[in-house]
């Protein structure tokens, strides 16, 4: 931690707050009906995307999941375009065709969120091939959850990345629940990170509520990848504070367990307190950041509200051509 400049720590805190407030707002808007469809907030898990993306350069790629707003925001996605997409508007990232689970940004090298659990994992191999063929030292961070780790593509992709020594960093966000299935019951070896030994690649099991730990681990894996040594597997233990989606009361979880994570492992509270204790930031500065972010999100909501609906005619014409 001593090596990380205060400015970067503040940047990470700011991103955690940005994700938290964005997600809180989307839940409100979902409940009032302005956003529909599926919405999978990542509240409680923010430290993973923030720490991981902090370790990347502009030319590196990320691959996201159905619970992907945090990845996109951590990567610098435009909140106007994100919010507009959630509203199904033509100014959204997918021109209103994708919604919450399909944000894709070519410029920021976000190779898509994904509505299929594990769907992005095979694609990481191709992005890894590109990085390897180009030889510029770029890497891919492939995010996925504990649920996806039990899909067959996990094995196919890690094996292939390992034999070809592709620069892919597999970041498993183990939030303990694949909808209702607890990873303690679904993962035979308990720690998904241990599976790295099956592919003879570096494996890490880390505290995903700590952005510094995530940042440092991804930095190490990125150096390994950039030097041509191949992929790594990082299991970040994390927790989603709420249900699978806003209508899921998450009754499959013990109250004590939820309270423990909310009270003891909240990445926002813990990181904020840490920076305050270390005098890296003052309460006044945090207040300023909070205000700035809230008004930024207000702006995004206003932008989404006033944006036009997609052109029906254009859609029908395109469908006719298919």
């Amino acid at each position: 931690m001593a090596k990380i400049p205060g400015k970067m720590m503040i940047e990470m805190l700011e991103k955690i707050i940005r994700i938290r407030r964005f997600e809180e707002r989307t839940i409100q808007l979902y409940k009032t009906g302005e956003i529909w469809g599926y919405l999978h907030p990542c509240i409680g898990q923010e430290a993973v995307p923030v720490g991981a993306c902090q370790a990347l350069g502009k030319q590196d790629y990320i691959i996201s999941t159905h619970r992907g707003h945090g990845h996109c925001i951590a990567r610098g996605a435009d909140m106007n375009k994100m919010m507009a997409e959630l509203f199904g508007k033509s100014t959204g990232y997918c021109r209103g065709r994708g919604g919450s689970m399909h944000i894709f940004d070519v410029e920021l090298k976000i190779l898509g969120e994904n509505g299929i659990v594990g769907g992005g994992i095979p694609i990481s191999v191709g992005a890894g091939l590109t990085c390897s063929m180009e030889g510029k030292g770029n890497v891919v961070v492939c995010f996925f959850g504990d649920g996806a780790a039990n899909n067959g593509v996990f094995h196919e992709a890690l094996n292939m990345s390992a034999i070809f020594k592709l620069p892919v960093i597999y970041v498993c966000e183990n939030n303990m629940y694949a909808i209702s299935m607890c990873s303690n019951d679904s993962v035979a070896c308990r720690d998904i990170g241990k599976r790295s030994c099956a592919y003879d690649i570096p494996g890490y099991i880390i505290d995903g509520s700590d952005p510094v730990s995530v940042y440092e681990t991804v930095c190490e894996a990125a150096v390994h990848a950039r030097e041509g040594n191949g992929p790594s597997l990082i299991e970040a233990k994390t927790y989603r504070f709420y249900g699978h989606h806003p209508n899921d009361p998450a009754e499959y979880r013990e109250k004590e367990e939820v309270e423990y994570h909310k009270n003891k492992k909240d990445p926002l509270t813990n990181f904020k307190n840490r920076l305050l204790e270390k005098k890296i930031i003052t309460p006044g500065e945090i207040k300023k950041i909070e205000n700035k972010i809230n008004s930024r999100i207000d702006k995004a909501v206003a932008f989404a509200r006033k944006s036009p609906q997609p052109e029906l005619g254009e859609f029908l014409e395109e469908a006719e051509k298919n």
Partner: protein, 323 residues
């Protein structure tokens, strides 16, 4: 003009495109020293090396996923799924990923991916190595489906597929690989959505693709001797489909037989029949006749195998049976 095998026409198309564009690479199972299961990649490993001829483990999902990932980051991968039956192992990547990215990004992202595969009956390979599953891909908006029947077509269409914004499911037929056909030395390409009348005729239009074109031509030759003039219509690509030319042909002949090796239920043949009936009903002198594979898994025994898909005589019988 010189004559070369269908498989050699594939090798030539790939070679020309890999020479032209360094972003084109090959990825699939047994495509290295083994030259591909149907020997369409002879000499390519030596010529381009293992970084452009990537031999993979048996991981169909990741072969396609690797193709998608490379395609959306600037390369032009030609993936190979050894048997069309094995696309079942990669369906999420083909259907939910490759086919959707272009649409869901509002056209911002192309997926210039070619999925080469082969299907069909004829070698006693039984139910898991003989299917004609083009209907699966035909059904999914966002995929282009190519079904070449000759050496000439396979070369020109594969070159187009590699340069296309994709994704393209390129379906060869295992029985055509050794069939020779005239292929010019000079470079050429065949656009998608442009059918080819393989034989002109006036009494009946036979719509057929892939290996059924060859069988339909044999049937047409025999029917010609019996005084029935058949027009053999090869769409070459099922998506996009040259429906205008088909309707024109039907308006001329006023009869249509749709021939397909795939099982009839829910097939491309059923859809073509419905569409022509809808668009040209007034011109038809007879109901559209479908000659398709039986609704059965493909059997191993050679007599049963033959009986499971249309043969020359079935096509002749269908044509003769039209009022």
């Amino acid at each position: 003009m010189r004559e070369i095998e269908y498989r050699q026409a594939i090798t030539e198309a790939i070679t020309e495109e890999m020479d032209r564009d360094s972003r084109v690479f090959l990825i699939g199972e047994d495509i290295g020293v083994y030259n591909g299961a149907f020997k369409a990649y002879r000499g390519l490993l030596d010529r381009y090396g293992p970084r452009r001829v990537i031999n993979t483990p048996i991981s169909e999902s990741v072969i396609i996923g690797a193709g998608i990932g490379a395609a959306i980051t600037g390369y032009r991968p030609v993936t190979e799924i050894m048997f069309m039956d094995f696309t079942a192992l990669a369906m999420d990547q083909i259907v939910n990923q490759a086919a959707k990215i272009g649409f869901m990004t509002g056209g911002d992202v192309d997926v210039p991916l070619v999925i080469r595969t082969q299907g069909g009956v004829g070698k006693g390979l039984a139910a898991q190595h003989s299917q004609s599953l083009e209907g699966w891909f035909y059904h999914i908006p966002g995929l282009k489906v190519v079904v070449p029947s000759t050496a000439y077509d396979v070369k020109g269409l594969l070159k187009t597929a590699i340069r296309d914004s994709g994704p393209v499911v390129f379906i060869e037929h295992k029985m055509i690989y050794p069939v020779k056909g005239a292929v010019p030395e000079a470079e050429y390409m065949i656009p998608f959505g442009k059918a080819d009348i393989k034989k002109k005729g006036s009494d009946v239009t036979i719509f057929a693709y892939s290996n059924m074109v060859l069988k339909s031509l044999e049937a047409a030759e025999e029917l010609e001797r019996n005084g029935i003039s058949c027009e053999v219509f090869d769409p070459r690509t099922l998506v996009p489909l040259d429906m205008d030319l088909l309707i024109n042909s039907v308006k001329k002949t006023r009869r249509l037989v749709v021939v397909s090796e795939a099982c009839r239920r829910g097939s491309v043949a059923s859809d073509i029949s419905a569409e022509v009936t809808e668009k040209a009903f007034g011109y038809l002198k007879a109901p559209v006749k479908i000659v398709a594979g039986l609704n059965t898994p493909i059997p191993y025994n050679s007599a049963l195998e033959r009986a499971s898909i249309p043969q020359k005589d079935d096509i002749i019988k269908a044509v003769k049976g039209l009022p």
